[in-house]
Amino acid sequence: MLTSDRPAHITIRGDRRRVVPGLVELWTYRELLYFFIWRDLKVRYKQSIIGVGWAVIQPFTLMVLFTYFFGHFAKLPAQGPRPVFYYSALLLWTYFNNAVSQAAQSVVNGAPMLTKVYFPRLLFPLSAVLSNLVDFAIAFMLLAGLMAYYVVQHAPNVHLGPQTLLIIPLTLVVVITALAVSLWLSAWYARYRDIRYLVTFLLQFWMFASPVMYPSTIIPAKLRAIYFLNPLAGAIEGMRWSLTGLSRPPATLMLISMLAVLVVLVGGLRHFRKFEGTVADVV
């Protein structure tokens, strides 16, 4: 007996790879999605002493570095306590960076599997993007600890309130952005091995184009409209604002960037579905 909710009759055609039936099918493969996420996590921390601790060490170390270099030496502007300022951005950025670089390679790495068994190939980028959320959740606990410290210290410029709940939709924006980008990159990478170098370059560029090391206030006002089309810019500034109540990001621009992400996502899904049918021939 195989999973009973998979259809008993299928028609195989070369010209029908629509997005909605693909998503419906994905649902019937949810158990395999769970297995892929579980495998990603297992493999990531096998033969590792610190294990999941690495999820915290990476953004934490960068936060300390940024606080000293940009705060004490370079004296770049920042709002609120610097550790919170940098760590909240690094939390989202580290997730995005790892999710995209792993998801982009997921189809090629899965080649031995996908040339032998059928399952929706969407599971590859999707599981990579979702498994990194576990690391995100662990790293998030340090942010919670940091916030608790500043709240107890009655530090100025730290304001938890209803707006703090926005962290959830803001994280979702980053997850969807990572998935949307990964759908294109993973499909291209299966065809063109150059994409590996492009991904590294793209992510470096993207980090500078996002307010990770600096506040978005240093961007000239007339460039802001373009700047906030980057969904990560809105998400990171939104995250900071939800913790400190300082420099509220422009909501309209954020909505526009979210719409842009949806276009990239739907386009990516269509592209991925089209490519899915013959990926076994090219990968």
Partner: protein, 432 residues
């Protein structure tokens, strides 16, 4: 008549030649874009020659009833594996459609989805899930799977520390416990030792007796005859014959599509070769001079090649024969040639020439051996004849005790098995 289990309607699959549809580097794709208009004009002018694409399957149609066990035969490149890959939904067809009624399990290659860093236990769960087993089912069958694979002691050890044999056994154990309505099996499953092959065939017999539908690709005519009442013969991507097993296999062997121990070409114009040389026949003969499909590992065997020289060669530049010997896995065992030994005066006038090469006993390993025949020109270093899989024979070891393996019956790896001189004596100084 009940509904079919599989209905294939005019399936076609086109591959791009050379690059297999993709590009290794973006540069190539950019290059292609830049040269596309030029290529397009050139194609227009030369007429559309079908050189860039290969139709691995062309207009293939058939139906399979539930519970039928169907063998698919044909030589390498006939489209057998492509057909199963399409039915298993691994790749999409370029044309046509197929309806599949029931849940499909495909055993196209063992080792599917094993991750070296994960333990045997973890891999059983992952592999089961990939093949389509729900977690509850894997849990229920877990002990059976592990026992079948014979890896109980190592089940919590990472798979990277397993021997390749253990990995294969465990992977097969998972696959063997899959219970689909329709089972697609490519013979790659049959690689491995004799014991493992027997288990595969045994399991397939069980599955077919349970009333499941099976599509089985094989080069082994005895296995096909044993398992499949009906056989489909593919060649060049199309169905050549579809019917009772014995009849289809006979068609296959008689048409020269199969690889047997002897091949003759009676029609000179369609025989392999060119204006200078035509291959007329190739035979595998044993020491008593009879054509022989099966060869005792201890006995010498000869390959005879008859070819017709259609025009006199220049002095000292006559064509010569090269034979290469290949095993089932596509590994070349060795090559041999009469380049330096063939009598040159023979090629001074047109005529029929026979070259014979003897391979000593106790040299080849057990299993199928395929022979490729090349007739080469010394003058142009090009070839007149290039016939892969021209003939084949089977090397068997009946374990009489005087071959390399002696009376040992287990797995004996290696592509060759020469009987070598061993001198084993005491190295103890006091006994010298």
């Amino acid at each position: 008549m009940s509904d079919p289990a599989i209905r294939v309607n005019g399936i076609g699959k086109r591959y791009r030649l050379g690059q297999l549809q993709g590009y290794d580097a973006l540069v190539d794709a950019v290059g292609e874009v830049l040269t596309a208009p030029v290529d397009w004009i050139r194609r227009r002018r030369e007429g559309s020659r079908n050189v860039e694409y290969l139709w691995a399957l062309k207009d293939v149609s058939f139906e399979v009833r539930p519970g039928e066990v169907v063998g698919i035969i044909g030589r390498n490149g006939a489209g057998k594996s492509t057909l199963l890959k399409i039915l298993a939904r691994i790749t999409d067809p370029t044309a046509g459609s197929a309806d599949v009624y029931g849940r499909v399990g495909a055993l196209l290659e063992v080792g599917t989805g094993f991750h070296p860093e994960l333990t045997g236990r973890e891999n059983v769960y992952l592999n089961g899930a990939v093949l389509g087993m729900p977690k509850s089912e894997i849990e229920r069958k877990f002990d059976d799977i592990v026992a079948f694979g014979g890896v109980e002691r190592f089940i919590d050890t990472p798979v990277k520390r397993y021997s390749s044999g253990m990995q294969v056994r465990l992977a097969f154990a998972v696959a063997a416990h899959l219970e689909p309505d329709i089972l697609l099996v490519d013979e790659v499953l049959a690689v491995g030792d004799v014991e493992f092959q027997k288990r595969c065939i045994g399991r397939m017999e069980e599955v077919s007796n349970e009333g499941r539908t099976v599509l089985f690709i094989s080069h082994s005519m005895p296995s096909v005859l044993r398992l499949c009442p009906r056989v489909i013969l593919l060649d060049g991507g199309t169905v050549i014959a579809d019917g009772a097993a014995r009849q289809t296999i006979r068609t296959y062997l008689e048409s020269g599509l199969g690889t047997s121990a002897a091949r003759e070409w009676t029609d000179e114009s369609s025989a392999p070769g060119d204006d200078v040389v035509r291959l007329m026949g190739v035979r595998v003969v044993n020491s008593s001079g009879n054509i022989s499909e099966e060869v005792d590992i201890r006995e010498p065997i000869s390959v005879e090649i008859d070819y017709k020289l259609q025009e006199a060669a220049d002095e000292g530049t006559g064509p010569f024969v090269t034979l290469s010997f290949w095993n089932d896995d596509g590994i070349m065992l060795f090559a041999t040639s009469n380049r330096s030994t063939h009598p040159r005066e023979l090629h001074m006038q047109p005529g029929l020439i026979r070259a014979k090469c003897q391979i000593p006993g106790n040299l080849l390993a057990e299993g199928q051996v395929l022979v490729k025949v090349l007739v080469l020109s010394q003058r142009t270093s090009g070839h007149h004849v290039d016939e892969a899989d021209a003939v084949a024979f089977h090397v068997v070891d009946r374990s009489r005790g005087d071959a390399v393996r002696g009376d040992y019956t287990g797995d004996w790896p290696g592509v060759m098995r020469p009987l070598l001189d061993w001198d084993t004596s005491s190295a103890d100084l006091s006994s010298r």
